[in-house]
């Protein structure tokens, strides 16, 4: 169970940091939570991490985030998977179809993205699947739990792993703040690691 909670939490953490600029509340968490700081060692040791929070956001983190997710890099799956590198914002996006199969609908007003195949959303989707798995586990619904593991495995293999490593490697090279540098590295490692975990579970 601890593993499911951990996976769910890490997906949630990464989805948040990759989806939008941090707000004050989340920034506080990223600055104080020892576990998070351990995940992000350069960030933990960065001398500017202790500048005034507003300044940290406005002058360091947000410009970097804007560069990594809006200006110079494209955090959308279809950009990486379509031959013409166009983001599929309409109904022909396989990721949207995947969400729909499980009645998940992206609220774009909250998400502030142009398409549902944004890395932050795919990560959050995995987080929800973990949460559902956790619920099934707690209710001892073995069948549902197995099914949810299979769904996670499928989504990870048919979507996230197909493109996210490329984006995250680019992000790591482009990042100008340790927060995003470390997050990119952590995300990359994590999805590879999760692939192993899920592979093992599916095989079992």
């Amino acid at each position: 169970m601890e593993e499911i909670i951990a996976r769910s939490n890490v997906y949630a953490l990464l989805s948040r940091v990759l989806l939008q600029e941090l707000d004050h509340e989340r920034l506080e968490l990223f600055c104080t939570d020892e576990t998070i700081l351990e995940f992000l060692p350069h960030w933990r040791d960065w001398k500017f991490r202790n500048v005034e929070r507003q300044k940290l956001l406005e002058e360091y983190l947000n410009p970097d985030f804007a560069n990594l997710s809006l200006l110079h890099l494209i955090p959308y799956e279809t950009f990486y998977t379509r031959a013409d590198q166009m983001i599929e914002t309409g109904g022909a996006n396989p990721v949207t179809d995947f969400y729909s199969r499980y009645d998940f609908l992206v609220d774009y007003e909250v998400a502030r993205v142009v398409s549902a195949d944004h890395i932050g959303i795919e990560m959050e989707f995995m987080h929800h699947l973990c949460e559902a798995q956790l619920k099934a586990f707690r209710e001892s619904d073995r069948e549902a739990s197995d099914e949810l593991i299979r769904v996670q495995y499928e989504f990870l293999n048919t979507h996230l792993l197909k493109w996210a490593p490329m984006y995250l490697i680019n992000m790591k090279y482009e990042a100008r703040t340790p927060l995003y540098y470390d997050s990119a590295e952590m995300a990359l490692e994590f999805i590879l690691s999760d692939h192993e975990i899920l592979s093992a579970l599916v095989k079992a």
């Binding site: 890490v10 949630a12 609908l105 609220d107 490692e189």
Partner: protein, 1130 residues
């Protein structure tokens, strides 16, 4: 492998202090799928990717709200209705065409008017506009934020009685009061009837963005006092066209060119016609064209060019003459074209000039004979000194680039497109020679008038805005019965600059305060004004944009020199602060203009319109006062008492300047249909277009939609906003003269064929129906063709008349070949040439590049443009120079301006250094479009709601509401009818999105400006919903220094252009200096203007009999031939 080796466990993730669910954003919802939308015509995916619906849907076009996709689209929410209030909102639009007015290009716009709220929801392009092709730049779309700018001037303003100009005390007045006061003063002045009075009511236009309307007003007033900004803009760009082809400017065919040779960044970056030009240039490059950009600064265009030529400012003629030398001496001349269209025979027959060339050492001997072959030999020798070695030394361009340029030039054949306008032309003394030499090189290759070549403006433009005379009682068709003006105004056309391309407008305050100058010319027999009865800038900010701004402030504040002043202006500006009246006229979607520009080889025109008025009229509304329909419409729409120029001047002329008709002005603007009343918009434009554009008239009157309309031509334009009369205009000089019914027709003008004769030089003359002789064409190889507009009807690379006007040495394309000649020929050597850069910290400052999101002073009322334009105006300095002087990125530096003619220092501005590889070492770049200021954040001008003011209407603003369409405010503009302004509580901000507050000090000699407060987030009730983001302002508004005020006036001795570039000395900022500070010694600046005038010009003298050559353009009003005659006492 790295990842596998360093794999860590993520199990710790379970130990987060906060659960994952609280960290995630939570972007998923599980809404139920909405009801079926099969019944709706809307789909989640559009049928077409076109931005625009077909024109037949423009009156009624429904579109889903742009935010619908964020809420999941109609599949989930359905379409909004009474039963489904949470569905996606459907906009109910009427689409009305107009034209942008934020630069001169006149790209088409469409206003998308939400019928349910009667507001413009967005401005888009006009897909019917074949030059703009439905596209706009940022400035076009900004028209909406300008329209709903909370600080737009809501009603006519008057300086408070008892206050001084510039004190900032204002009262609300009525249009009628303003028009009565101003009209009376104008009428009283004109009634005097003497010479002075015809020079004393001055109109001063910024960018006209219309083709002849207000000039026609001034012509009917009998005044020679129409003034324009042109000589701070483009005179040096126009002079070469005038000297070469007697045409106003270049007209390139970018789209079909093989070589696009930009002299400056202007066409593709931010300048003239850039949105349209950039599109055409991109099309050409897609087809394989090469782009060369000649600019000391690496502009956006230069950055994406095939070749960047960073020539030292003002040395560009040498680049062209190097090309000419090689074209001539490597026998690459298009001999057929040159023999046919150069006026080589005029030169070969001018023995005196040939002797002069020998005497000056231009050539070693006289030509063997007068043949064309001898002409070519003469040219080969004349231009042989412009070698690669010389060009490299003078221009600082590396040899390999010049050689590459030559190869590209030859490769392109006769498809070379260029444009001579700002930067080189506007920046440098003698900058006009660049265009002269450029045309020469291009013409040697025959690339004039060709497909993909370079041509001239008048064939590619439509100017009919002032030609609606047949709709009036008195003007006659096209204004034929309007008497010509009998005056010649020395304030706008000073005798020192007889060849000035346009008015010496930027010297107005200098000339008005220069008593010595006034006395000199008065003593010599001229009638020189020493003051103006009325001064009327229009959408113009002369204080800020002109050089030596403190001199403008001095004169504008002086009520003895400027007796009555008013600005027709939609927004606050530095100038308006010092006016007596500010009368709000409309922006791009709020006024009528016929506006055409030469952006492609075609003749097209936009029709600018007040879109809300048009929407009302198309919905069935009728104004109470047809002469003030636009004013009524804008009041109904909640914009305020905002009017438009056309109706204002119709009404002024008929009812205020000449109410009893005794001046003969009233009848000129009285409606022929309704005598006694001003002509209406529909009457005027139906005549202006219909009388002058036969193809349009035929189309409109045969179109079933319009043929039964009262004003079919007007109605056609109202619905389309655009017309192209003629396309693919190439080789127009080859048009043969037409003979019909005993008449010969040239350029659309008719002459009795019997009066025609062909001179020995082939030039064809004829006498028109008024008995005036004109040169109408030229006979070449037995064909009678129209030719160019020059005296020889050919391209004049020998401008013989320049000899008579004292500029003998510059009658041919030329550039001094050595230091001695540079000293002697200083008139065509830039005042920032490297020979003047003697000090270690001396630089040539390039000032005249534009910023693509700002146009002069027309952007501070747009929150969108202001947000994207912050802190974008630093000093570009080469990394090498920066290192040498110890400047780092972000350093504040003092930029001291020094004049190279008078030797005087003007003061300094403080700017931010940005070292870059993108600028030629030894030169700097800092656009003069930064540094707006205001003296206070807000002014209180009571609305007077409690004072018996009237509501704008009772029915809700809704074009589908019949009650709303029945209403219109009564007696608009009159006392007692002042309307309540929506959500205006008596205080207005001043350009709150874009202009910071400064402190200004001036004592008659020295002026200082220091910014004291940046702009801040604010809340506004006016257009509150549209401006709900005004609290998000993150910028302080400081975007450069008001360097224009430091700049002394530098009048080019030939063209009269203000030469913008500056010699500057750089030094670190001193204690207390802040970026944006300026310090000006404007007493020195006055002496500098005098030095340029007295040391460089060759003006009229006791031998003069004419003010100016009769055959070259004297813009705006038609002068009586006698006005040109002059006698100067010795």
């Amino acid at each position: 492998m790295m990842y596998l080796e360093s794999r860590r466990t993520f199990l710790k993730g379970a130990a987060l202090t906060v659960a994952g669910a609280a960290i995630a954003k939570g972007v998923f919802s599980t809404d139920a799928i909405a009801e079926s939308v099969k019944e709706s015509k809307f789909t989640n995916t559009p049928d077409t990717l076109s931005f625009y619906p077909p024109q037949d849907q423009w009156n009624h076009f429904q579109e889903l709200s742009g935010v619908d996709w964020k809420r999941g689209g109609i599949d989930r929410r359905g379409v909004q209705s009474e039963n489904n209030p949470d569905g996606i909102y459907v906009n109910d639009f009427m689409i009305v065409p107009t034209a942008c007015s934020n630069c001169e290009a006149s790209c088409g716009l469409t206003a998308w008017i939400d019928k349910k709220t009667f507001t413009v929801k967005k401005y888009m392009g006009n897909p019917l506009h074949t030059a703009a092709r439905g596209r706009n730049c940022a400035k076009g779309y900004a028209t909406q934020s300008q329209m709903y700018d909370p600080d737009r001037i809501p009603f006519p303003l008057k300086r408070a009685p008892g206050s001084k100009r510039g004190e900032g005390k204002w009262i609300r007045t009525t249009w009628d009061e303003a028009m009565t006061t101003i009209g009376k003063k104008m009428g009283d002045t004109i009634r005097k009837g003497d010479l002075l009075s015809r020079k004393s009511v001055m109109f001063h236009v910024g960018r006209p963005n219309e083709n002849g309307f207000v000039p026609q007003v001034w012509e009917t007033l009998g005044l020679d006092s129409y003034n324009s900004h042109t000589n701070i803009c483009s005179s040096n760009g126009r002079t070469p066209s005038i000297w070469t082809a007697n045409d106003d400017r270049t007209s390139p065919d970018w789209a079909n060119a093989k070589l696009i040779f930009l002299n400056s960044s202007h066409a593709a970056d931010a300048g003239h016609y850039f949105q349209q030009s950039a599109g055409f240039i991109a099309d050409a490059r897609k087809k394989g064209a090469k782009l060369v950009v000649m600019d000391p600064r690496m502009s956006n265009s230069a950055g994406m060019s095939d070749l960047w030529i960073a020539a030292w400012p003002g040395t560009e003629p040498v680049v062209y003459l190097y090309l000419a030398n090689r074209i001539l001496n490597e026998n690459m001349v298009d001999k057929k074209f040159v023999k046919k269209w150069f006026n080589w025979d005029v030169l070969m027959n001018d023995t005196a000039y040939l002797n002069f060339m020998v005497e000056k050492g231009y050539v070693s001997k006289l030509p063997a004979d007068k043949s064309f072959e001898s002409y070519l030999e003469l040219m080969k020798e004349l231009y042989s000194p412009y070698t690669l070695e010389f060009a490299v030394k003078e221009t600082h361009v590396p040899a390999y680039k010049l050689e590459k340029l030559y190869d590209m030039f030859i490769w392109a054949g006769d498809a070379i497109s260029s444009y001579f306008w700002r930067a080189t032309a506007a920046g440098n003394r003698g900058g006009w020679m660049s265009g002269r030499a450029g045309y020469f090189a291009i013409a040697l290759r025959g690339a004039i008038g060709t497909k993909g070549g370079t041509f001239f403006h008048h064939w590619h433009v439509i100017s009919v805005s002032g030609k609606g005379g047949s709709a009036t009682v008195g003007q006659g068709v096209g204004g034929a019965d309007v008497p010509k003006v009998q005056a010649y105004n020395e304030l706008t056309w000073p005798p020192e600059w007889p060849l000035s391309t346009y008015e010496l407008s930027y010297l107005l305050p200098h000339l008005l305060s220069d008593k010595e100058w006034q006395k000199k010319w008065t003593d010599r027999g001229l009638t020189v004004p020493s003051k103006l009865a009325v001064y009327i800038p229009r959408m113009y900010n002369p204080v800020w944009i002109n050089p030596d701004g403190f001199r403008w402030l001095e004169v504008l504040k002086n009520e003895e020199i400027m007796e009555l002043t008013m600005n027709l202006s939609p927004v606050w500006s530095e100038t308006n602060w010092y006016m007596d009246y500010v009368l709000p006229v409309g922006l791009a979607g709020e006024r009528h203009d016929q506006h055409s520009e030469a952006t492609m080889p075609a003749r097209w025109s936009s029709f600018r319109q007040p879109v809300l008025r048009v929407a009302l009229e198309k919905s069935g509304w009728k104004p109470k006062n047809p002469a003030r329909a636009t004013l009524e419409a804008h009041i109904k729409a909640g914009l305020g008492e905002v009017w438009e120029d056309n109706e204002f001047w119709f009404d002024m002329c008929v009812n205020y300047i000449d109410p009893d008709g005794s001046l003969g002005i009233k009848k000129m603007w009285e409606s022929k249909r309704n005598p006694g009343k001003p002509v209406t918009i529909a009457e005027w434009y139906d005549a202006a277009f219909g009388d002058n554009l036969p193809k349009l008239k035929e189309t409109a009157t045969n179109d079933p939609r319009y043929m039964n309309e009262e004003f079919p031509v007007y109605s056609y334009l109202r619905d389309h906003g655009y017309w192209m009369e003629e396309d693919k205009i190439y080789h127009a000089m080859e048009h043969e003269l037409k003979f019909e019914d005993g008449e010969v027709i040239s350029h659309g003008h008719k002459y009795p064929a019997s009066s025609m004769h062909v001179g020995a030089d082939g030039v064809i003359s004829a006498v028109d129906h008024k008995g005036k002789e004109a040169k109408i064409g030229v006979e070449i190889d037995g064909k009678k063709v129209e030719g160019f507009a020059t005296l020889s009807k050919k391209l004049e690379f020998f401008t013989q008349w320049a000899v008579d006007w004292k500029w003998k040495e510059y009658a041919i394309p030329f550039y001094p070949r050595n230091d001695k000649e540079k000293a002697e020929m200083e008139h065509i050597v830039s005042h920032v040439n490297h020979m003047y850069m003697k000090e270690e910290n001396a630089f040539a400052l390039n000032t005249v590049f534009r910023l693509p999101y700002n146009i002069h002073t027309r952007s501070a009322n747009s929150k969108h443009l202001m947000e994207i334009s912050q802190n974008h105006d630093p000093i570009w300095i080469s990394t090498k120079d920066a290192k040498r002087l110890g400047f780092k990125r972000g350093d504040a530096i003092r930029v001291r301006i020094v004049d190279t003619v008078s030797g005087l220092e003007s003061g300094y501005f403080v700017a931010m250094a940005v070292p870059t590889e993108g600028v030629l070492p030894g030169t700097l770049a800092c656009s003069h479009h930064g540094g707006r200021w205001k003296l206070t954040n807000a002014v209180t001008i009571p609305n007077g709601v409690s004072d018996g003011k009237v509501a704008t209407g009772a029915a809700p603003r809704d074009l589908n509401n019949k009650e709303f369409l029945k209403e219109s405010p009564a007696n608009v503009g009159k006392a007692g009818s002042q309307t309540i302004i929506d959500n205006y509580e008596g205080t207005t901000g001043l350009n709150s999105f874009g202009v910071p507050v400064a402190e200004v000090q001036m004592d008659g000699k020295v002026g200082k400006l220091k910014y004291v407060e940046g702009i801040k987030p604010f809340h506004t009730e006016r257009f509150a919903d549209y401006n709900r983001d005004s609290g998000n302002i993150w910028w302080d508004g400081l975007s450069g220094s008001w360097q224009n005020a430091v700049a002394p006036a530098h009048p080019d001795p030939v063209s009269g252009m203000h030469c913008w570039h500056q010699k500057v000395l750089l030094e670190p900022a001193q204690a207390g200096d802040k970026i944006g500070d300026i310090f000006v010694n404007y007493e020195n600046n006055f002496k500098t203007y005098q030095a340029w005038r007295d040391q460089l010009t060759r003006g009229l003298d006791e031998n003069s009999t004419l003010r100016r050559p009769r055959h070259i353009k004297r813009p705006w009003v038609r002068l009586d031939p006698s006005a040109y005659d002059v006698t100067i006492k010795s």
